[in-house]
């Protein structure tokens, strides 16, 4: 057993990446996710419409944060603000009781808003209207609260559009990265490099099947979500498909990029894990983006799943049109261009006749390593000569 322990330590010492994963990553992950893991909603973006819109900010108080008031607008405008993701709560004033519209697709924010409104209503019932305006009893009628897009506040309604993205991340990133690095490990990547195939053909030929499988996965997940879990699909299928294609573009590119910087499948899985886990935890899939500490939140905006979440929830739950989703689409496209360019450049370099790498005693690949010289001439050693 001692021999095994020593051997394992020696191997581990030489595998710097695994060692870093084991020691550094847990610390980094704990810090990052520690700041990210919060369901607490401290700010609820709110808009107000109707003749008394200007007074809403004064009446609602924290944690509602009124970002826009439009006295000339009505309920239609307020609904549009929620649909387009500009606010989580909209207050419509006018004749009769004020209407409070809540975006149910922002589950935790919606729950927090309902809780605040209930607390305020209870307080008003005991002490009079909110804000201590006891001198005007009954002047602030209780609002009519309506939850839009996810009236039952079902968790599955908001999770499944996001989970569709997670499935794509897994297929796109992990499976693709393994597929390419397997070529390198088995020595067939070098075989491809000398074949009369253009790097572009190899690159596209490699990812198109994964693209097709991932697209099929997506269709199955969304189909099951709608059929089995009753998740609504209110928006345009074409807009959703366009978002999915862009998102796949990025995730497949990340997969190829990972494989091009990995020597073996183990390293590829490690890297893919490091890319996938933050996407699950920091993209707004589980924790609301607004609840993630600002120091960590910037990472969320570098993750493609963040934007796909916006698109899938926006289209499926709120029927958001392309015009209101231009921002996540644009950012996803930008990420796609950057990642895909890097991936194709790396892949092209992999397939080009390899220039021997400086500082490396052996070139990459099993057969090339065998060709690398050693300090002594093995054929000339006594053992080799006496073996005959």
């Amino acid at each position: 057993m001692w021999a095994m322990i020593v051997k394992e330590f020696r191997q581990l010492r030489r595998d710097r990446r695994t060692l870093a994963m084991m020691i550094v990553m847990p610390v980094v992950l704990l810090i990052v996710f520690g700041y990210a893991a919060s369901f607490d909603v401290t700010t609820i973006p709110t808009v107000a419409a109707g003749p008394e819109a200007g007074q809403v900010a004064h009446l609602v108080g924290e944690p509602f944060h009124v970002t826009a008031t439009e006295p000339a607008q009505g309920r239609a405008w307020a609904e549009q603000q929620l649909r387009d993701g500009n606010a989580a709560v909209a207050v419509v004033t006018g004749s009769g009781r004020p209407q409070v519209l809540i975006d149910g697709s922002q589950l935790f924010t919606a729950k927090a808003a309902i809780a605040e409104l209930s607390a305020a209503a209870a307080k008003a019932a005991v002490n009079g209207p909110a804000g201590g305006q006891a001198s005007q009893p009954g002047s602030q009628p209780q609002p009519v609260v309506t939850v839009l897009y996810n009236p039952e506040l079902n968790t599955s309604d908001i999770m499944i559009p996001g989970l569709a993205g997670v499935v794509l991340v897994f297929v796109g990133t992990i499976i693709t990265s393994l597929g390419v690095v397997r070529e390198r490990q088995s020595g067939t990547l070098e075989q491809l490099a000398v074949m009369p195939l253009k790097p572009r053909d190899v690159f596209l030929g490699k990812i198109v099947p994964y693209f097709a499988v991932a697209a099929l996965d997506l269709a199955i997940v969304v189909g099951l979500g709608v059929g089995l879990f009753g998740v609504p699909f209110r928006g345009s299928l074409a807009v959703f498909a366009l978002g999915a294609v862009l998102f796949l573009f990025v995730t497949l590119g990340i997969g190829v990029l990972i494989s091009s910087v990995s020597e073996n499948q183990g390293q590829a899985i490690q890297l893919a894990f490091m890319v996938t886990l933050p996407q699950v935890l920091l993209s707004g899939l589980i924790f609301p983006l607004s609840s993630i500490a600002v120091g960590v939140r910037w990472i969320s905006y570098l993750l493609p799943l963040t934007y796909f979440n916006e698109i899938s929830r926006g289209v499926m739950l709120r029927a958001e049109p392309l015009t209101s989703l231009w921002q996540p689409f644009l950012l996803l496209a930008l990420l796609g261009v950057v990642v895909f360019t890097l991936a194709s450049l790396r892949f092209r370099a992999d397939l080009a006749p390899a220039a021997p790498r400086r500082g490396s005693g052996t070139p990459r690949g099993p057969e090339s390593a065998r060709g690398a010289p050693t300090a002594t001439s093995a054929a000339g050693t006594p053992s080799a000569r006496s073996a005959g």
Binding site: G187, E190, A193, V194, A354, P356, S360, S368, A379, R385
Partner: protein, 299 residues
């Protein structure tokens, strides 16, 4: 004028001209000149780390040399089997060949006929549906060679096609190699088996990245300097540094002629006619002895 490290095509031979390859600070190939002619089989021999695979990778276009020139045909006319067969273990035999045929644009009908013929001759016709990863080592090597020669390349580069292969499969492989050469291809193969290299028309002996000898096996043997004797005991003294064990006895090389200073009496030795294995061993030994002065050797 072609830039250093560039590949050229055209002409009636393929090979390298003054090629150098460096891995970090290590010179893997040092000014290597090599010529492979159409219709001939050339064997590149040498020990581990001699630079055989590096030379073959340069020839196939998988490795760019630091300097010198590589003459090779277009990719479409080059066939390459990397060490380890280079076939996809998770594709069947016929799927592997179909992939190669498509990549090299071999017409489907022609690809089917040639695949069937080569598979039958190599004894693989009954395992066409079997995954390459489930084949024995020898069968996989044969598949690798067939895949590399399927499109009738002008230059066929095979890295250790017969390593770890049983004698029957080795005979099949040599049939395939001869068939490719008979079809007009210049075949270059790396091997560590010197008896096998004797079957090739041309031999290149590499050691530590340098060319020790080249020519036909007969030419290399004839060019061996000194004499070779055989004895039952390893001689003492300086002669011992020039001795190696083969087939249960000791062979002693004397660069200048019959060794009269060895501990073993000259009368107890027989002078033997060297073969390629002896000539290669002597070439490597001569280089080592030139590099390591007497009394400084570590053995």
């Amino acid at each position: 004028m072609t830039a250093p490290g560039a590949a050229e095509s055209g002409g009636d031979w393929w090979g390298t001209e003054d090629v150098c390859v460096k891995f970090g600070d290590t010179l893997a190939l040092d000014r290597v000149w090599f010529r492979a002619e159409p219709g001939r089989v050339s064997a590149v021999v040498g020990g581990d780390g001699a630079g055989r695979t590096t030379l073959l990778r340069c020839l196939a276009g998988a490795l760019a040399p630091a300097s010198g020139r590589v003459r090779r045909p277009a990719r479409m006319a080059t066939g390459y089997m990397s060490a380890g067969s280079g076939v996809y273990p998770d594709l069947s035999v016929t799927e592997n060949l179909a992939f190669r045929a498509t990549a090299y644009r071999v017409p489907p009908q022609q690809a089917r006929e040639r695949s069937a013929e080569l598979l039958a001759r190599a004894g693989l016709d009954r395992v066409g549906d079997r995954l390459a990863g489930q084949l024995s080592g020898g069968m996989r090597q044969k598949l690798g060679v067939i895949a590399a020669m399927l499109h009738r390349p002008d230059l066929l580069v095979l890295d250790e096609p017969t390593t770890g292969v049983d004698p029957v499969s080795r005979a099949d492989l040599w049939w395939l190699i001869a068939r490719a050469a008979a079809g007009g291809a210049a075949v270059v193969l790396a091997t560590s088996y010197l008896d096998e290299a004797e079957r090739a028309q041309d031999v290149l002996v590499l050691d530590a990245g340098t060319v020790l000898a080249s020519g036909t096996a007969e030419q290399i043997v004839a060019a061996m300097p000194g004499t070779l004797t055989i004895t039952s005991e390893r001689p003492a003294g300086d002669a011992g540094r020039r001795a190696w064990r083969r087939e249960g006895r000791w062979r002693v090389w004397d660069p200048a002629g019959l060794d009269t200073e060895g501990a073993v009496a000259p009368g107890s030795r027989d002078v033997v006619m060297p073969d390629l294995q002896d000539a290669v061993t002597v070439a490597i030994l001569a280089r080592e002895l030139a590099l390591v002065p007497a009394g400084q050797e570590s053995r």
